[in-house]
Structure formats: structure tokens, C-alpha cells
């Protein structure tokens, strides 16, 4: 790009205008709503306008240069890379599902908040600067060079593919959830609408386009996340600082839990782990999420785009700051939603049809989408709810009779709190931004690994630039289609799917990456067997506990958590399968260590290479002409 320097020095102004423009757009829609434009039009405008902006950025950043396509020309400043990483990182799971999980499970889901931020300390200290110094295009590229040969590279690709694919399915599910609610179309079709949104951003411009759209998406998602809570906080406490003010809300929740008859026997919101098993699960999940963070290829890949090692380090810190903005708000979000439901829904009279009709309106908006249940049936309309409750002899709504799908809480909160529809539309746009930005990053990680590592490095090293980029784009579309097909079958809950991806990445890649940088003695065979064993143990635990719980109990010494054997309800030592990495990670480290000790040490050149890797200055070690 001839005006590349201009572009970089004007970034502040460009994104300043953009942010102002977006806020103006929200205000415009708020005015439109006031003068009577129907809700569904506002929903459409939000979704199409934001996707059009991302597409515009994607098309403007199209490129035919290899280094631009794979690493955005390595000239993304630390601050903006931080923002892009934050968007890349915060997915539908962070945006939609985390506050929902906190809402439903309270303190025990704090493990997600802690794990997904603390992991960045590991990234900063142990991994990112060194991978940047090495100068690879992809994570398998590093494995291939450090452990000499295509075997390590290939296993790296398999791990990358499995974890990124699980993750991407969760994102497409999230995008579909938002689109189906706000475009009023079927979930299966909505998934493909989301897919188009993902493809327009990443197809033409690769990493470069994704970087600049992700910055734009971060701005949308953080505004969309903060505004509803700020309004809620002002409504409830009078001060627009939700993160500081929700202490009061916590007190009110505790009080209601103690006094309200509708909440008798409910699990306390701030219930901390009490038994050894609960504690073990809490800390195991934190560990798996942290280590997973430090090994997810689509995140590490972002640090390849900074201009230098110094910038890579700073960029990790900026990323964490931007992520922190959302994460320290999530528990506040959950608390406000909890208080609204506790004080306005529970305890409602169900004794007559009129009373049921008087329930808050949002219940019958989300009921037909099969997201709210009352007395055991989906709240499709007042009659159905009334019939079911009467049949069960229930006249007053207690906590056991009311259930809301936790993935929905964030989207529904503006409506639960009776805010204007424009806020709900804003949240939808934010959720979509979060899902799309992460899906883009993941898609690129998979397609790059396939095109760069498999096609270029292993199949045809003499392929022309043009051909390589062509292959990359075709693969991108194929992977995206496959993900949409899998997502349209609704394979699981967003948060659980994402947590699986973390365990897989943690066990499969972390030991090989960290030991590769920090222990010169790690040999090729050690790393290969470490990756295989860690990954297989984790995958085995996931599949057996999720799909074949009976087999697990009969043949593999697993025990059921409850009275009955259920899917995901069995395991070793009571460890949930979302923390499957707890078994895989140590296995991988031990195997890597033992096999390395038992094989001849790496060549002198390799050891010198690692020494140089740890020095921050000097040339990039694996530069390639483009």
C-alpha cells in the first residue's frame, strides 16, 4: 500500500471519527424509535449497518501480498494490536455467555473471569515475545522449525484444527442466536447469515483486513456492553459507575435470598466452592483456561503482526487492558440482571389467566424462541403457561419454576429492565461483533495453517504467490461452510464448547511451545510424543464423558457425579469435562520431558538458535520474501 505510512499515522483520527459516527448512529436510531419506527426495522438497521461497515473495511484492505495477507505486513502498532487482539479474543462466549453463566451459577463461574484474564500474564512472560522474535507466520510454522521437520508441524496443525474448529462452531452458534432473535428468521438460516458476515471481512484481505475490522468491532462491542449496564446502574443506584456501584446490588440480592419466599432453597448467588470436588473444579478450570489462552493459535498469531519484540510485549499489556474493560463489567451485568429477575419476576401471581398475561412482556418474546421456561414448558403464550402451572398446582412463581437459557441473559437484559428497544439492538450489534471478530480470527488461523503449512511448506514449496493466496481463500470458504453446517445442528452450549477448545489447545500445544523456548534440551521426539499424548488424553476424556458415559464408568474407572449416569456427568475425581486439560497438560509435560531425556540432545545449531531466540534484538529469524 503506497499510502501505508499515512494510514498508520492517521489511525487515531480514523477510529476517532468512526467511534463518533457509531455513537451518532445509535442516537439517530434512538430518535427514530421515539418517532415510531417499528422495532424490527431498528434491529435490521443495526445488524446490516454494522456488517456493511466491516465489509467496507474488509474490501478496502484487500491485498495480494503474502506478508500483508498472513501478518498484516508486521506494522500494526501495539495499541491497535491490543484492541484487535481483544476483539479477536472476546467471543460470543465472553460477550453473551459469560455474564449469563455468572447470572445462573454465581461465584463458581468466576473461574472464567479469572482464567481468561490471567492467561495473558503467561502469554506476555513465556510466549508472545519469543514467537514474535522467531518471525513465523503461523504457530505450526514455529513448531516445524523448532522441532525440525514436518511431523511436529503436522501434529501442530491437527491440534490447531481441532481446537479452532470447536471454537469457531461456538461463534457461528452465537452469531446465529443473535441473528435469529433480531432478524426473526430460523436459527438454521441465521447461521448462514452470520457466515456471510464473517466471510466478507476476512476473504479478500486476510490478516490485514481482519486486523482493521477487529479494531472497529472492538469499539462496537465495548460500547454495546457498557451502555446497558451504565443505564441500569443509574436506574438502580443513581450513579453511572456499575463496576463500583453493584456492591449495593449484591447486598440486595443477598437480602432477597434470605427473605423472599419465592427464593426458598435457591442456590445463593455468591455461593463459594464448599467441598473438595467443587474447589478442585474451580481451580482446574482456571488453570485450563489460563494455559489454553497461552496456546490458542488465533490469539498468538496476532502478536506476529507487531513491528518488533518490544511492541509485542506492550501489545499483550494493551490487549489485557482492553479485555479487562469487559471482564470486570460482566459480574456487574450478571448482578443487575439477577436483581431485576428476583424483584420483578419471581413471586409473580400465576393464579389466573389475567395474572399470567400480566407477566413482563419479554418473557413471551423469548418464550417462543424456546429460551424461557415456566412450570416446565416454554413460555410461548400466557395460555400455555397458565395451563401448565394450573396442572402442576402452582399459583406463585418460585425460582424452581422459572428458567432462562443462560446464553440469552445478556441479549435479554435490556428488555428485562424495560430499556428502549434501541439498547437491545445495540447489544445485538455488539454480540454479533464479538462473534464475528473471533470467528474471523479463527477462520484465518485454520485457513493459514492449511494453506501456508500444509500446501506451501509440505506439498508445493515452489507455488507462486498468487497461487498460495488463491488456495488460502478457497480453504477459508470451505472451512467456514463446514463450521456453519456443524453449528446449524446446535451441538452444545456456547460456553462449554469454548472451554473444550481451551483444554485441547492447552494440552496439545502449550508444553511444546513453552519447553521449545525455555528448555534447550527438548528434542523433536519429545515434543512430538508430548503433543500426541496430551492431546489424545484430553480428547479421550472429552469424548468418553460427553458421548459414552456408560463406557467410561464400566471400563475406565470413571464415577458418576450424581445418582445417575448422564452425558458430561461422569469423570475421574469428579472433574468436569470442561477442565479436561487438567489430565492432558501434565501428561504432555511429563512425556515431553521423559522422551527428551531418552533421546540424543538437539544439534548445536538448534541450541544456538534457541539462545538467539531469547535475545530481543537482532534480525527476525525466519524472514521470507513476499
Amino acid at each position: 500500500m503506497a499510502n501505508g505510512r499515512d494510514f498508520t499515522s492517521n489511525l487515531g483520527r480514523i477510529y476517532g471519527f468512526y467511534t463518533g459516527g457509531f455513537i451518532g448512529f445509535v442516537i439517530l436510531l434512538a430518535i427514530l424509535e421515539q418517532i415510531g419506527v417499528p422495532n424490527n426495522v431498528i434491529g435490521y438497521l443495526f445488524i446490516f449497518f454494522t456488517i456493511a461497515v466491516y465489509a467496507g473495511i474488509g474490501i478496502m484492505s484487500r491485498t495480494m501480498q503474502v506478508s500483508e495477507y498472513y501478518v498484516a505486513g508486521r506494522k500494526v502498532p501495539a495499541f491497535y494490536n491490543g484492541m484487535a487482539t481483544a476483539a479477536d479474543w472476546m467471543s460470543a462466549a465472553s460477550f453473551l455467555a459469560m455474564a449469563g453463566g455468572l447470572y445462573a451459577q454465581g461465584y463458581s463461574y468466576m473461574a472464567f473471569v479469572l482464567g481468561w484474564t490471567g492467561g495473558y500474564v503467561l502469554v506476555a512472560v513465556l510466549i508472545a515475545p519469543y514467537l514474535r522474535k522467531f518471525g513465523a507466520y503461523t504457530v505450526p510454522d514455529f513448531l516445524g522449525s523448532r522441532y525440525g521437520g514436518n511431523v511436529a508441524r503436522f501434529i501442530g496443525i491437527i491440534v490447531l484444527f481441532c481446537c479452532s474448529f470447536t471454537y469457531i462452531v461456538a461463534q457461528v452458534t452465537g452469531a446465529g442466536l443473535v441473528a435469529s432473535r433480531f432478524l426473526a428468521i430460523q436459527f438454521e438460516i441465521a447461521v448462514f447469515v452470520g457466515l456471510v458476515g464473517i466471510l466478507v471481512c476476512s476473504m479478500l484481505g486476510g490478516m490485514r483486513a481482519v486486523t482493521w475490522t477487529q479494531v472497529a468491532q472492538y469499539i462496537v462491542l465495548i460500547i454495546a456492553y457498557l451502555i446497558p449496564v451504565i443505564i441500569l446502574s443509574t436506574q438502580v443506584t443513581g450513579i453511572p459507575l456499575p463496576q463500583l456501584m453493584y456492591g449495593e446490588v449484591l447486598q440486595q440480592i443477598q437480602e432477597l435470598e434470605a427473605t423472599s419466599p419465592a427464593l426458598e432453597g435457591a442456590r445463593a448467588f455468591m455461593q463459594t466452592p464448599q467441598t473438595f470436588t467443587q474447589g478442585l473444579n474451580f481451580f482446574a478450570l482456571i488453570a485450563c483456561l489460563m494455559i489454553g489462552t497461552a496456546s490458542l493459535p488465533h490469539v498468538l498469531m496476532r502478536f506476529f503482526t507487531t513491528p518488533s519484540v518490544r511492541e509485542a510485549r506492550k501489545s499483550v499489556a494493551w490487549s489485557l487492558l482492553f479485555i479487562f474493560m469487559l471482564y470486570f463489567t460482566a459480574p456487574a451485568y450478571a448482578s443487575f440482571a439477577k436483581l431485576e429477575v428476583y424483584s420483578n419476576v419471581l413471586g409473580a401471581d400465576l393464579g389466573s389467566l389475567e395474572a399470567v398475561q400480566g407477566l413482563p412482556e419479554w418473557i413471551f418474546i423469548y418464550g417462543p424462541l424456546e429460551l424461557v421456561r415456566i412450570c416446565g414448558v416454554f413460555a410461548t403464550d400466557a395460555q400455555a403457561v397458565f395451563d401448565a402451572c394450573t396442572a402442576a398446582g402452582i399459583t406463585s412463581l418460585s425460582h424452581g419454576q422459572f428458567a432462562i437459557a443462560s446464553d440469552t441473559v445478556v441479549i435479554a437484559t435490556p428488555e428485562i429492565a424495560g430499556l428502549p428497544y434501541v439498547i437491545a439492538g445495540l447489544v445485538a450489534a455488539g454480540g454479533l461483533a464479538a462473534a464475528l471478530s473471533t470467528a474471523d480470527g479463527l477462520l484465518l488461523a485454520i485457513a493459514n495453517a492449511l494453506s501456508h503449512d500444509i500446501y506451501y511448506r509440505m506439498i508445493d514449496p515452489r507455488a507462486s504467490t498468487r497461487r498460495r493466496l488463491m488456495v488460502a481463500r478457497v480453504l477459508l470458504i470451505l472451512v467456514a461452510l463446514l463450521a456453519a453446517v456443524v453449528a446449524s445442528t446446535r451441538p452444545g452450549q456456547i460456553l462449554a464448547m469454548v472451554a473444550w477448545a481451551f483444554s485441547l489447545a492447552a494440552a496439545g500445544l502449550f508444553p511444546a511451545l513453552v519447553m521449545g523456548v525455555w528448555w534447550k534440551r527438548t528434542t523433536k521426539q519429545g515434543a512430538i510424543w508430548g503433543m500426541i499424548s496430551g492431546f489424545c488424553v484430553t480428547l479421550f476424556y472429552l469424548i468418553i464423558t460427553r458421548y459414552f458415559p456408560e463406557t467410561g464408568v464400566s471400563y475406565f474407572l470413571m464415577s458418576p457425579f450424581g445418582e445417575q449416569i448422564t452425558a458430561s456427568g461422569v469423570g475421574w475425581f469428579g472433574v468436569n469435562n470442561i477442565s479436561a486439560g487438567l489430565f492432558g497438560i501434565p501428561v504432555a509435560f511429563i512425556v515431553t520431558y521423559l522422551v527428551s531425556k531418552g533421546t540424543p540432545e538437539p544439534s548445536a545449531e538448534m541450541q544456538a538458535f534457541i539462545d538467539e531466540l531469547r535475545l530481543p534484538s537482532g534480525k527476525v529469524m525466519m524472514e521470507e520474501k513476499s
Binding site: T117, G118, V121, G247, V249, F283, P331, S617
Partner: protein, 70 residues
């Protein structure tokens, strides 16, 4: 590096073992144990990352390793 990892371990894991004891202390409505998990530890992580980056970059400069690459 070890300092960083030790601080990380304390705020990532160790401190949350004492959540029930900390919850006895309530500051502006927040039980302290909850607060540490919801915000306190996160603030520590952010500060830790910035501190690590600047300290490491300063060490590089002192040893003449800060030359711009490429």
C-alpha cells in the same frame, strides 16, 4: 520473570482459597472475596503485564538490545 509468575500464581489461585474468610469483610457492599475474584485480581494482572513490558524493555535498552529489528 519469576517475580511475575509468583504474583500471577498468588492472584490467579492462592488468594481464592481464602474466599470465605475474605467475604467476612464487606467494603461498599462488596464482600472482599467476591471483589478480589471479580476485579481485584484482574487489576493486578493488567498492572503486572504493563510493568513486565516496561521493565523488560528497559533491561533490553541497558544491555543495548533495543535496536529496532528488521
Amino acid at each position: 520473570m519469576w517475580t511475575c509468575l509468583i504474583i500471577w500464581f498468588i492472584f490467579g489461585f492462592a488468594i481464592h482459597l481464602f474466599v470465605d474468610a475474605l467475604n467476612e469483610i464487606v467494603i461498599i457492599g462488596f464482600p472482599l472475596g467476591w471483589y478480589v475474584a471479580a476485579q481485584g485480581s484482574l487489576i493486578v494482572f493488567v498492572v503486572l503485564c504493563f510493568w513486565f513490558a516496561s521493565r523488560q524493555n528497559r533491561i533490553d535498552e541497558e544491555f543495548g538490545m533495543s535496536g529496532h529489528e528488521e
